[in-house]
Amino acid sequence: MSRLVKRSVGREQSIADGLYADLGRRIAVAPPGTCPVDMAKGFLSLCSAQSCGKCVPCRVGIQQMAALLEEVLRGEGDEKTLEHLEETARAVYDSADCAIGYDAANIVLSSLRGFREDYESHIRSGRCKTGFFTGAVPCVELCPANVDVPGYVALVREGRCADAVRLIRKDNPFPTVCALVCEHPCEDHCRRRVLDDAVNIRGLKRYAIENAGVVPPPAGEVSTGKKVAVIGGGPSGLTAAYYLRLMGHSVTLYERRHRLGGMLRYGIPAYRLPFELLNQDIDHILSTGIEVHTAVSLGQEITYEELDKNFDAILMATGSHLASECGIPGEDAENVMSAVYLLREAGAERNPDFTGKKVAVVGGGNVAMDAARSAVRFGAERVYCVYRRRREDMTALGDEIEGALAEGVELLTLKAPMRVETDDSGKAVALWVKPQTPGLIDSSGRPKPTNASLPEERLDVDIIVMAVGQKAETEMFEKAGLPINRGLLQAMPNGQVMRNGKVFASGECATKPGSAIQAISSGKIAAANIDEFLGFDHRISVDVDIPAPRSEDKPLRGRVNTSLRPAPLRKLDFDGIEIGLTHEEAEAEASRCLRCDHYGCGILKGGSARKW
């Protein structure tokens, strides 16, 4: 017998690993709206199976907690059951010998803390407070604009791309924009992930818009004679303007800059969203007959009083275009600029020349990636991305980070910017950073960066771009006497600024910086509520028949991803970087959709909503 032997992974272990991986995916796509009590019980069953069985709290306590949860689920529990459960969980947490036990107890404690009302509803009326249908069709539910995803995926599969675009536009007038830059929350809980991987929903949308041809807007309702002013021509304002116009209202849109699009034009670089594609959506929206005034700012070329006098309703959708400051000395030096400024210049087609320059972009979000990758295209010799946390803590999407790296951006993580060094003429010449070490997990769920006991480092740079957040401009609202709260125009969930008032707000000036689809959704909500405020009940619908699901097996099949132009080529210009799906790929990908609008509980309430 040898003293040590190499152990091979047995067949059993590899099957078990496979099952855990399946389960992991399944947990990740849990339908929204699952009963938290039932979930806690399910988790405990797994925890119990993982217990080594040595210590009492873990071996017995987990099962007893599960039994108490079962009592609650059966509607047989009372206040005492909850107290007993909490006491037990605390004892298990405090006394279990290892993490398998005390983390299991923590699940119960967190659940009791976070879902107290659900627990109480179970013991009071024997039913779950959680809505059942929130998870009926996960992709539709998770799309902020509730676009009928299974519907258009089915249409794409049938080759009916124009109908797919019409169907999307029922909920979102920016199909092209979203086909290119949507963060696709719809894919997060795609039920297909239970089997293999999420459907490439955004890729299929892109295929639809690329193959739809020109799709004219639907006929609007008869004119209502009501006049609505929309302030701000970004995704939110344009969305609201589009639907209000379809509802028969007359819409006048005021935009501060020379072109429409807001952050879609002045915030998203053209290599991600080429201008001509953005213009497609905008032209379609305007073709409904919206009066547009560009280069008009609220409080300058037009006053709130004029708007108040001339319009029946006013929508504020001015976005969030002010850059936040990093707060380090020297930030105001020459050659230090905000990412907001840099991207706005690019949007206005005034590209700066960074040839031969060393550029540091400060920040770890998507805007930082946009700025860094734009800097590459402006000709910079080296582009650093300086971030105080780890790469995995960046808020930028993984694809964006990878894209930046491929284009030559250098990530300098765990480096906290300390100050900007300037030369005698006041120009930035270096960025001083302090090395960090990941600390305890903070409230954002990420380790808090803490100063490492290493000396500060000097980064020799010519240009510094601050991408540390942005905020809304509120001065013009304040002057108009509108309520401001935490730097935002304060609005109710329906978008109305003051109860029964004619002013509504949508998009980032009322929420906070978010995604394009969130802004679109907020514009849609504002349109519906402005219509109601004006005394109407116009519903937006579309007469597109959605193909019935085919009767077929759904074998496991790999997801088709969109591809990118090779990095060495794409970094030389601002042309679109992504390559859409081929016909063959789109058909295969669309066939992966499990049609949750038909199978599962989607069908129970008639599938997708046909109007809003």
């Binding site: 699952t34 689920l73 407070k129 019935a548 009767s551």
Partner: protein
Amino acid sequence: MVNLTINGRSVVAQEGMTVLEAASAAGIDIPHLCFLEGLNEIGACRVCVVEIVGHSRLSAACNTLVEEGMEVLTDSPKARRARRTNLQLILSQHRMNCPVCIREGSCQLKALCADMNLLKLPYEADIRRKKWDMSTPIIRDESKCIKCMRCVQLCEKVQTMNIWDISGTGSWTTVDVAGDCALKDTSCTYCGQCVTHCPTAALTARDDTQEVYEALEDPEKIVLVQVAPAVRAAWAEELKLDAALATPGRMAAALKAVGFDYVFDTNWAADLTIMEEASEFIQRFTHYKDYKWPMFTSCCPGWVRFVKSQFPNFTYNLSTAKSPQQMFGAVAKSYFAEKLGIDPKKLYCVSLMPCVSKKSERALPTMVNDAGDPDVDAVITTREFERMLRSRGVALNLLGEIPFDSPLGESTGAAVIFGATGGVMDAALRTAYHMVTGENPDADSFAAVRGLEGWKEAEFTIPGAGSVQVAVVSGLGNTRRLMEALEEGSVHYDFVEVMACPGGCAGGGGQPISPDQELAGVRGDKLWGLDKVAHLRYSHENPAVQTIYKEYLGKPLGEKSHHLLHTNHFGWDMPGKK
């Protein structure tokens, strides 16, 4: 056209048909349970699963569309095994006290299990229960619910009331009153359509036969029964009685056999209702500006509950005439008691109705006499009557036909049609016409309001009064559409008849349950047939009605009529009203 094979047989189906429909059209029966045509095709029970050759998993026949070249096996070993297992799983959560179950004879689950030759239950029973407030006329038994979701769909899609909803998640998913409240605190109209479409006894109407038996057994009580028009079209459906023998006269004899002292007819009260309601309509029509329009019929308690909760501003538009059931009770405990020379407290007034909502109408605080006693003491449904007959062993075949008792038993053809959609309108117009012109119209002049269509419109001219725009709706979804159109101003009517149940009382929530069949049309036709052959076809020609006006009431809308036969719809509130 789509060509496919089912169990090896070539079948040609229409495009868009489901496998279940195509099989059924070809004479092949696929077992199914949760399926409710056009309403609930959700593939929940997985009993109708079939094998499609080439597919690794089974498909639900109820919502899989036929495709060209499809080869369907409805009874392959795989399909059969899964179907049996699914039934056994359903049974593991179904409290099987079949011998004492109210749906013993009409349970779809039981019938299906019998067909499947299920002889054992391999799973441990997991029966879930839930407390229920028994004060409402509709009762839900969690332990019987198989979560087919039919009630949820029907209440939402047909009746648009959304009283039922899905509750809970995961394996705890069940059906419950929407919005975490008790049924008595909702706007439920108690139409009972959920009851007649429930495959099991999860939803039932409260059984009040025990109270009736107690009254029958009480030597001090004189027990009378009134029978609603629609009951006579359906009472023997589930009994072993030749349909040709199921006449109103034999029904009256059966009621006598059960022990009722007097067997009267709600039809008599229906004729009386027409006298009051037609007079009221003429009164309003000839003083058009003084009233809100249209005038609505008020005989359906489900509708009255609906309008009071959903469109309360239209409560003013309801005819103030009581329903025939309540007119009958009021007259029985006054006029008839006087005729007998007895204290009305000795009378026990039962009504036999095709309706569940009548159980709640009877109990309204406004439906009492001067002594504070209810005008109607108990309401039993057609189904409860059937059960009484069966439990008493009444030998129906040996019974002859007898007339209803006098004086509250005489009636006309205009009364019997109250049980079918359009009937009240038809009858009211016949008498209104006579009241205005002094002449009878042809009894079939108003046939445009008949038929099963959910929302009917017609215009009639009454010489001397002018043109009258009428509408007839049945089913609360249709009613809601009509009410919304009225609110919007896109339609205008003078007189509207509303029945909460699709097809009117013939399809009422208290009628016998025939799984997978909608019988309102067939039953309604029987009622129209009775009208056709009736000796009298105008309510104002009912001699017993003429007599009561002469002897007791004076004239329609007179003081006594007002006191006995009319009601204040604002005298009680729907739940949740502030």
